[in-house]
């Protein structure tokens, strides 16, 4: 009789796996969205600010970019918990992952804003546009096109980095698979499967990026 302490992987697990996939997509979308919005604001500030403000902002962003994400996640969730305000893993993970994304996005967007030649902005002003109109109608669309490939690169790496949120207990794809592995003892099969899932999530995005890039190359 092949009775075993472990139960093999079965179709009954597909719902559990799907939850993991969706949670990965969910937290990635939130982090990329919030990180992009904050990064845009921060990138603009850095492109416009004086040297003092720039050094200050640059320092904060450097910390976010240099400290490993996994350490930021553990520090933040432990500290918040210890302060008596435990956050659920999704919220804590979203906050840190969004800030981490912001730090990288801000450099991308700063480059975008700075890539628009001053002469083009002056051309806009000479047509009667206000400062903000040149930001919205000239610098934003032209600068953002220039940095779209870099933006996509950051977004794709955030999707993969979201696996680290598993360390604070968020049930995303990696953590789901770890639980399945400890139950089934079939790590190879499961991890290959997880890898394929990440690929399926990321690859269409990078294809879309190439498509947009080609379309914009006019």
């Amino acid at each position: 009789m092949g009775m075993s302490f472990f139960t093999p992987l079965s179709w009954n697990d597909s719902g559990f796996i799907l939850t993991g996939v969706l949670n990965t997509v969910y937290i990635s979308v939130v982090a990329v969205l919030i990180g992009t919005i904050l990064g845009l604001a921060m990138g603009f500030l850095r492109a416009e600010a004086n040297r003092f403000t720039n050094t200050l902002l640059g320092g904060v962003l450097d910390i976010l970019r240099s400290v490993p994400l996994i350490i930021q996640l553990i520090l933040f969730s432990t500290y918040i918990g210890a302060m008596g305000h435990p956050l659920n893993p999704f919220v804590a993970g979203s906050i840190i992952l969004s800030l981490y994304t912001m730090a990288f996005m801000s450099e991308v967007f700063r480059g975008g804003f700075e890539s628009v030649p001053q002469s083009m902005i002056i051309a806009g002003r000479s047509l009667g546009m206000s400062y903000w109109q040149t930001v919205v109608y000239i610098r934003l669309p032209i600068g953002m096109r220039a940095v779209f490939p870099s933006w996509l690169g950051v977004a794709l790496s955030v999707i993969k980095d979201s696996a680290l949120v598993s360390v604070i207990g968020y049930m995303e794809l990696l953590r789901t698979s770890e639980q399945l592995i400890s139950r089934t003892q079939q790590p190879l099969k499961i991890l290959i499967g997880v890898g394929i899932f990440y690929f399926i999530i990321s690859y269409p995005l990078s294809l879309y990026g190439k498509y947009v890039e080609r379309k914009m190359a006019i």
Binding site: S119, M120, I122, A123, R125, S126, L127, G128, Q133, I142
Partner: protein, 241 residues
């Protein structure tokens, strides 16, 4: 009328304009000539208030450009400007380039803005390029687009800053033709230019700039064909062969 009175301008320690006086009447075409670094382009930037001045004043239809309360964004609607670099907006089609400012600055509705944009584009000979992206066009075409884009704001004055200097020689003609057409329309123009033949032909008045002052000014027959000052003669002997 544009009145420029005793205008001084410096960048840090560098004095670029050292007391410029110049009147441009309605319908007049004034050409500004002179060597590089003589302050010609800077004067245009001061007229539309992109650059500040340190002394003197500039009046556009009696509005003091550099006075504290002046709404310069609004004033610039009357002062079209075209630059050495055409600065087409690369993310917009030709038609959209010409429609943008009327739409967002004058808050015109789309239909009206499109009418005006098409009219001006036809005027400069770009009637078959509405849906083209400017980066696919030649420098001469893009420069004509820049002119149409400025004209779509229905300015009272046009300022041209060496608009043919960055063009391949074979493209200069089409842009100068466009300027001639504007003069024939009665547009008031200040042209900073290195095209002496053009300046002689179209100008009512030529101002020769030298080291931040107007060294010699008068009708083109005098300043270009029969200069009185030695510096003017020297400059012209270098540019006219």
């Amino acid at each position: 009328m544009i009145k420029i009175q005793d205008v001084h301008k410096s960048f840090a320690d560098l004095k670029v304009l050292k007391g410029i006086d110049l009147d441009v009447k309605k319908g007049e075409v004034v050409s500004v000539i002179g060597g590089s670094g003589s302050g010609k382009s800077t004067l245009l930037y001061c007229i539309n208030g992109i650059e500040k001045i340190q002394q003197g004043r500039i009046l556009v239809d009696e509005i003091d450009v550099h006075a504290k309360g002046t709404n310069r964004d609004k004033l610039r609607q009357r002062l079209g400007m075209v630059f050495q670099q055409w600065n087409s907006f690369p993310h917009l089609t030709v038609l959209e380039n010409a429609m943008l400012a009327p739409r967002i600055v004058k808050k015109m509705n789309k239909k009206r803005a499109m009418e005006i944009a098409k009219e001006e584009l036809n005027h400069v000979g770009l009637g078959d390029k509405f849906d083209e992206y400017p980066t696919r066009m030649s420098g001469g075409q893009q420069q004509r687009l820049a002119i149409a884009r400025a004209l779509a704001m229905k300015p009272d004055y046009m300022l041209f800053d060496e608009v043919t200097s960055a063009l391949d020689p074979e493209l200069v003609g089409e842009v100068l033709d466009t300027l001639r057409m504007l003069r024939d329309d009665g547009m008031t123009m200040i042209c900073v230019t290195h095209e002496m033949a053009f300046a002689r032909e179209v100008s009512d008045k030529v101002a020769f700039f030298h080291e931040g002052i107007i060294e010699e000014m008068g009708p083109p027959e005098q300043v270009i064909s029969n200069p009185q000052k030695e510096t003017t003669q020297k400059f012209l002997s270098k540019v006219l062969h």
